[in-house]
Structure formats: C-alpha cells, structure tokens
C-alpha cells in the first residue's frame, strides 16, 4: 500500500517504522532536512524535505496515487489543510493529528465535507488508556473491546497465588468464562496452549466479559479496592484530558504542575480538582503534598527520566498503583521486568489506531478488522474481526480448524453475547471474534489458518 506521512516527529517516526514493517511503501515529508536524513538512514523509505501543506510537495510525493495520507506535524491547522489538499489531489484516505478539541469535536463534518477520514489525538488516547487502567488497579495493563464490555487485563502471578502451578486446562475448568490469552515469562511472550502451566512471576493476560474478569479478579485475591484518588504529576495535555475522564469516574484528583500559567489554566477548567503549583520531581515537595496517602500516582511530565524516577520513588513509598508515561521505551530495559507497574506510551497507542486503520479500512473488501492492539512491545497482536460470509473458518468447529501456531481464538461476540469459546464451538458469519497471535500483519480472519500466506 502507498502511504504518505507528513511530519517526522515522535509519532511520525513511530508510524514510519511500524507501517514500513507492515510492508507498505512510504514517503515521508518533513521540513527539517537533518531530521529526515536521520530517519532515512535507519529505514529504507522515500523522503521529501518541505512543507506538507504545499501543493508542489504533495504532488511531488505522489499524493494522487496514494492510499493513505497521514499528517502528524506539530500544527493542527497544517495537518488539516494538508489532509484536505491530499484528499482533493486524489488520496483515498486521510488521517490528521488534531490536538485542539475545538477542531476535533466535529468529526462527521470533517469526514464528509472536508474529507478527513480520521482525526487522532495522541494525548487524549493516552489519557483514555490511563483512565481504563484505573478501573483495574492491580492490573499492569487494561484494554477494552466492544465499547468496554470486554476487558483484557495483565496481572502478575505472585509467589503465593493459587494460580501458581495451575495448567491452563485446569484454569479453564475453574474459570469458565475467562481465558488466559498470553503468558509473559522472563521477558518472552507466549501465546499459550492448554498444556502450559502458570508459574510464579508470570505476567498473564486474561480476557473475558468485563463482569467475569472483574469477579475473577476479586476471587483470585487481587485488590478490588477501586482507586478513589490520584496524584497526577505534570499538568500537560494528557492531564488536561485525564482530569476530565477521572472526574467522571469519581476519582478525586490533585495535580502538581511546575508552570504557573499551565496550572492556572487547569484550575480554570477543572474547579473541582486541586491544582498545585510546584515541582513534582522534588521529593520533599511530594511529601508535603501527602503523596503517600494517595491510592495512585500518575507521572505524565514531559521527561521520561523524571517520570521513571518519580514513579520509582512513589513505589518505594508503597503507593498501590503507579502509572508512568514513558516515550522512549528503551529506557525501561535498564529496569527489571516488573519494576514499574504500568507504562503508557502515547505514540504506541496512536500507532495501534493507525495500523488498524491502514489494515482494515484501507482494504475493506478483504476483511472487517475492528481493533488492533499490540502488546509486549509488539511481540503479540490482539485483533478483532467481524466474520464475513464465506470465511473459511466458519466451516469447522474450532477444534478441527487448523490454526497457525501461537494463535488463539480468545473470544466470540455473537449478537451481543460474549462467549469464551471451547473446542466444540463453531464460528458463525457476523460473529465478532478476538484473536491473539504472535504472528504479524494479519489483515483477514482467514489468515489465522495454517497454510494461508500473509501478504
């Protein structure tokens, strides 16, 4: 597929990497020559130095034949203009990063009249991911499907857990409505089969209907005490959205922000939350603001190192839930696997969304892909499809299907009913199914069958 990406910043760079790996032809437009050279030296794509909203540059980049045009420069207005121009010059789909909610509020108008197929807001997506995690405080990660009715959570099998030593067949016997989808053991992700046995220190992904996941969560001794208050360190754009989302979940909030003006604007927007002006990296200051009496600490300052250090400090003080925003995940490798509980990387959240778009909407005749979530640094993909008429997987029971290795049919949503499948179930047309796979680049449900070649 031919994709043009405008803007080689953090998100642009990630997109280039990911979409290139997905096997697309990419042209990157970036106004800084040096930055472009740096990316080109690492990845084998075409590049163009210049303004993304210029007619000449767009034509030069081959916009009339491109399938997807993605504009992720730092300016909303440029992104929108570039998308409108690209659409009119012949791009099939356009995606714009729009951070200002005043523009993003009218998605229908933007799509129908201006031809912007999708607007993405990395900070909002990150805030939403954090808000989801607060729903399962002991989980390391939380993903929702089907508008929040299906949950997938990542939890730790501790030394004294009764889960330790349980084989997955036994696990299924005790918990009928949920499924272990992935096991992460010593840094390696396994899409498990029935014979696998849970060990201490495994991180496991559990999927199921939200109430079932919830009751499992409580039954297996994980703290179900909901998060009642949160200390947010950093008052940037993520916090701006996060405060609103958390207030809706009735979580009381204290925000620490260093810049007075930013803090003041937050106070203006959210009168019911406490906004503190001060240095969130200063440990004495954190103590003065009673950090230790909070249920959760969320570090979303712009600097990874400070977020990591503050999070480690919060953990050492015994905070139950610590969420850390980290942009450069390579930094995490110097820490142990379970050192930080929950890490949020906005560029990945966004990349997931765009990858899904590119894989599904961009070739709707092949499949109906409804969600793509990549976990464990992209080792494992969780995909949601709607099964179409004539799909080969509807022919047999799941047991008889010849699935590729490391691929698991985790969940079926049939007429709003959530089914955790067993071998004797058959997939029907119009089912929504969620699969977990260690393979990459599936864009059709039949790709899960052995012998089918992925393009």
């Amino acid at each position: 597929m031919d994709i043009i990406i405008a803007g080689g910043g953090v998100v642009g760079h990630t997109l280039v990497e990911e979409l290139f790996e997905e096997g697309n032809n990419i042209v990157l437009i970036e106004k800084e020559g040096e930055l472009l050279d740096k990316i080109l030296s690492k990845i084998d794509i075409d590049g163009l130095v210049g303004n993304a909203a210029s007619y000449e540059n767009l034509v030069e980049a081959g916009v009339e034949n491109c399938d997807v045009f993605i504009s992720v420069t730092s300016q909303d207005e440029i992104n929108m203009i570039a998308c409108i121009m690209a659409k009119n010059l012949g791009a099939t789909y356009t995606i714009a990063r729009v951070r200002n909610p005043e523009y993003a509020d009218h998605a229908d108008f933007m799509r129908q009249d201006l031809g912007i197929s999708m607007m993405i807001n990395p900070e909002y997506e990150a805030a939403q991911a954090i808000a989801h995690i607060t729903q399962f405080p002991s989980a390391y990660d939380v993903e929702f499907f089907e508008e929040g009715r299906v949950a997938m959570i990542k939890i730790l099998v501790s030394e004294d857990s009764f889960l330790k030593g349980l084989s997955l067949i036994e696990f299924r016997k005790s918990f009928k409505n949920i499924l272990v989808s992935v096991i992460v053991r010593e840094g390696e992700s396994i899409v498990p089969s029935g014979d696998d046995v849970l060990q201490a220190d495994d991180l496991i992904y559990i999927i199921g209907a939200r109430p079932d996941v919830n009751s499992f969560y409580i039954a297996s001794g994980y703290s179900n005490r909901p998060i009642k208050n949160a200390l947010i360190i950093g008052g940037g754009r993520i916090s701006y959205y996060l405060i609103g989302l958390l207030e809706k979940l009735h979580i009381s909030i204290k925000v620490i922000e260093e810049d007075y003006q930013t803090a003041y604007e937050l106070a203006e927007k959210y009168p019911n939350s406490l906004i503190i002006h001060g240095d969130g990296t200063d440990q004495e200051f954190l103590d003065e603001e009673h950090m230790t009496s909070f249920d959760s600490v969320i570090c979303v300052r712009p600097y990874d190192e400070e977020n990591i250090l503050t999070s480690l400090y919060a953990l050492s003080e015994g905070i139950g839930k610590v969420i850390t925003q980290v942009s450069r995940v390579s930094l995490l490798r110097i820490l142990g696997e379970t050192e930080l509980q929950t890490v949020i990387t906005p560029k990945f959240t966004i990349a997931d969304k765009i990858v899904r778009f590119v894989r599904s909407f961009a070739n709707p005749s092949i499949s109906d892909m409804e969600a793509v979530i990549r976990i464990e640094e992209n080792d494992v993909e969780v995909l949601q499809f709607r099964v179409k008429e004539g799909s080969q997987i509807t022919n047999n029971t799941i047991m008889e299907l010849d699935l590729k290795k490391h691929t698991l049919i985790s969940l079926i949503v049939r007429h709003n009913k959530i089914i955790v499948p067993s071998g004797s179930d058959t997939i029907q047309t119009d089912d929504h199914i969620i699969i977990v796979t260690a393979h990459k680049r599936f864009d059709d449900i039949d790709d899960i069958l052995e012998g089918r070649v992925v393009k």
Binding site: A267, P271, I276, H277
Partner: protein
C-alpha cells in the same frame, strides 16, 4: 483630556433636561394651577437651551477620543449639572426658599436616594411635586444607560462589577452595539414604569399619585409624595404591586435583555440573581419570625417584613411600617440589606450583590491560599474564573467605600445625637437609600441638619450613586492640569 467631548456630551444631557422640564410645565395647566407657575419650569428650560448652545461643540468634537477619564468626567459633571439645574424649579416657584434645601431635594432625586429636608410636602404645588418625583425617574434612567449600555463597553471597569455579568465583550458571544443596547434599555425602563403606573391605577390609586409612586420606584429612590411618613395604602394589592415593581427595578437589566433574546437559561443560571433572591427570602423569613415572636400577628408581620425588605434592599425606601420600633435583630438585618443593595446593572444603590458575593468568595479563596500556599485557588463567578485583575478593582472599591463611609460617620456625628443616627445617616446617604434609623429614620427627615451637613449629604448622594471613582477622578488635580505625565 478631551474637553470638547466632555462639554458636548454634557451639553446634550442638559439640552435633554430642558426638554423634559417642559413636562411639569404641562402639569401646571392640567392641574389647574395659576399659569404663571409654569415659569418655574420654563425659565430653567430656557437656561438649559442656552447652556446647550454655549457648551455644544459638535463640530470640533472627535468622539473617538472618548477614553475612560473623559467618561468619568462626563458622568460626574452630568449628575452635578442635572442636580444644580433641577434645583431651580423649587426656588423659582418659591416652594422652597433655601438654596441648600432645593439642591438637597434635587440631588436626592437625581441620585435615586429619596431623602428629603421637607417634612411637610404640602408646601409643594402639584407641578413641583411632580418635578420632584420625576427627577428620581430621570436619575434612574441615566444610571441604567451609563452603567449598562455605555460603560461596560469601555474600559472603565469601575462601572461594572465584572465583565462576566455585563453585556460586554465575551468569548464566542455576538456583541450588540451601544446605541442598540441603549434604545432597548430605555424602552424597557419606560415600559416597566408604565406597567407600574397602570397597575397602581387599577388598584385605586389616583393617576397623579400613581405616576409619582412609580417614578420613585423606577429610580429606586422612594421620595415620599405624601404628608404621612408611611404610605397611605393598606390595600394588599397596591403593596404587592409596589413590592414586585421595586424588586423588578432592583434586578439587573441585562437579565431582561437576555429574556427578550429568549436566553432563559442565562437568566436561570445567573449567579447574582440566585444570591439576591435567596438573600431576600432569608431576610423576610428572619424578620417575620422576629416580629411574630415579639407579639405580631403572622400575616401582618409577613406583609410588613416583605415590603420593608424589598424597599430597603433595593434602596427605594417607601415604607409601610415604622421599622424603628422593631427589635434590634430585625433592624440589623435591614441595615445589612441596605449595605448590600440591589443587583448590579439595576437602578438600585448600595455595594451591589455581585460585589458582596465576590468579596465573600475571595475571602474564602484567600483563606485556602494561606493554608495551602502551593495550591492554585481560583474564585469563580457565573461559572467563570475571576482573574486577579478583575478582582483587584472590586477589593479596592470596597476599601475606598469603607474609608468614605467612616469619614461620613464622622461628619454626620457633628449633628446627630446617637451613634445609630450618624451611622445610619451615612449608610443611607452613601448607599442612596435615604432612610436610616432614629433622627433620619422612618419618621424623621434631614430637615434639622445645618446647611453644611445638608450639602455634604448631597455630595455623598452623588459619590454613592456614581460608585465613588468618577467623583474622585473629578477632584484629582492632575486630571485638570492637562499633564501628560
């Protein structure tokens, strides 16, 4: 300073006053007074027209050069000249012989105070009595136009408590032009007055007194046109009409404009309206209870407390009961209401509800700021954050207000017997109420004061009416010396 602008603007208002002076001249003929009485009004009218011609410099005036300071000068000089010329009919008619008394009555009318130095209104011919009441109505209209239409759109922050409650520029709101707003305000004001007059006539009040009462209500002044200090109407209907009308004129006129624009939500959500109505409700309940506990019957006490609360809180001061004999608790509540006054953007005087609410909220914010020094604490009003630069003028206003008030007590104390009299005389004058306790109470007047005190009271009326700053600016020497530094 642009003298031409000031002179032309004031000349227009004086010209307008000349035209309006023809109205009581008409009354002379309607009421069957000797026709020579009309000279009491025609001579001042002529003077107005001459002054208009002398002062009007329309040709050389650049109205673009009307800045805050010119605006202040215009209001200050407007009220001073209105009061001076308005005193002439009292003198020319011979109804009043003292210049100071005439000035006092005129100023009291134009500033919507309603205090009087004449214990016996039978000295006035009907036409003069009409003029005396009409001044209140004109003063009320003037303050509305200045405070709601003209000033909020200029930078003169002293005239609207905060931007949020004026019709001034607001993010995402289409702004109406000054002339448009002025027209709407005047027609609203006239309509409400006519409705009050008609409602009173229906209640059996004679048309002449209906007009006089309505003028006093509209200007929230409450000059008593009757011989008795209390209103001679026992009818619940008449009292109810007056209560509703007084409250209507004590309400922010921007709210009526919102209503006309069908913005009901904005009225419903208006914070000042909510505070004001709760304040009045609490005051009525407390005073009624106090009166009942002191042996009053329930219906009578409720009626009296409702009327007196409406009258004093809107700074009107029509009375149906002698509250001086009420228990001190009830009197103190009335005194508090006198200081708070009506809503901003109305014809009422006092500190204004919105100012008081903001001051109280800011106090709580400040307590929080002191206890948690790092916390960002904002004061919100009408769901919007009040910025420091908006709050500062309000706090400063309060300080100046208190200073002037203390000074006024001192001056009144020269001629009053008890502290209550001096205190309430100062409060009644500065808040444009006109009635206090004891000597200046329901049964008293300002008649027994000596000339200097009467003049000081008149001055204080204007200071209070124009919310202090314009008068302070007028007496700032540098303003006159045309200094640029």
């Amino acid at each position: 300073m642009n003298v031409n602008v000031i002179s032309t603007s004031v000349s227009r208002i004086i010209g307008l006053q000349g035209l309006i002076l023809l109205l009581p001249a008409l009354i002379v003929f309607v009421s069957g007074e000797p026709w020579t009485n009309s000279f009491s009004f025609l001579i001042p009218a002529l003077l107005c027209f001459i002054l208009y011609l002398l002062l009007n410099r329309e040709g050389q005036t650049k109205f673009e050069e009307l800045y805050t300071i010119e605006g202040f000068m215009i209001v200050a000089l407007t009220w001073i000249s209105l009061s001076l010329i308005g005193a002439l009919p009292f003198l020319i008619s011979g109804n009043l012989t003292s210049i100071v008394d005439a000035l006092f009555e005129s100023t009291s009318g134009f500033t919507g105070t309603g205090a009087s130095v004449v214990p016996d209104v039978s000295v006035f011919e009907p036409s003069v009595l009409f003029w005396r009441s009409l001044t209140q109505w004109l003063g009320g209209m003037g303050i509305l136009v200045f405070a709601v239409a003209i000033f909020p759109q200029s930078n003169a922050s002293a005239f609207h408590v905060i931007q949020a409650e004026s019709t001034g520029t607001k993010l995402g709101k289409l702004q109406t032009s000054v002339s448009q707003t002025t027209k709407r305000l005047i027609s609203l004001y006239v309509t409400l007055t006519i409705i009050t007059i008609l409602a009173l006539i229906i209640g059996g009040v004679s048309p002449f007194y209906s007009m006089l009462l309505s003028f006093g209500t509209a200007g929230t002044a409450g000059m008593n046109p009757f011989l008795s200090p209390l209103l001679p109407y026992d009818s619940i209907y008449v009292q109810a009409v007056l209560v509703i009308s007084m409250l209507a004129f004590g309400t922010n006129f921007n709210l009526y404009i919102h209503l006309l624009n069908k913005q009901v939500k904005e009225v419903w959500r208006d914070e000042e309206l909510r505070w004001y109505s709760s304040l009045l409700a609490v005051a009525v309940i407390l005073i009624t209870l106090t009166l009942v506990l002191n042996g009053g019957n329930f219906v009578g006490s409720l009626k009296d407390s409702l009327f007196q609360v409406a009258s004093l809180s809107t700074t009107t001061s029509y009375l149906t009961a002698d509250f001086d004999v009420w228990p001190i608790f009830a009197k103190t509540i009335l005194l508090i209401l006198m200081f708070i006054g009506g809503m901003s953007g109305s014809t009422a005087g006092g500190l204004k509800v919105s100012r008081v609410v903001l001051l109280i909220k800011e106090t709580f914010s400040e307590i929080k700021r002191i206890s948690y020094p790092h916390r960002i604490v904002t004061t919100r009003y009408n769901n919007e954050v009040v910025k420091d630069r908006q709050m500062r003028p309000i706090i400063n206003y309060f300080l100046v207000y208190i200073l002037i008030f203390i000074l006024s007590i001192l001056i009144f104390s020269l001629e009053t017997e008890g502290f209550a009299s001096a205190f309430s005389a100062a409060a009644a004058a500065l808040n444009n109420i006109g009635i206090g306790f004891n000597e200046v109470g329901p049964l008293g007047t300002y008649a027994h004061f000596n000339a200097p005190t009467k003049l000081f009271a008149s001055f204080l009326f204007i200071v209070g009416r124009l919310e202090i700053y314009p008068i302070l600016v007028l007496f700032t020497p540098n303003v006159w010396r045309r200094r640029i530094l």
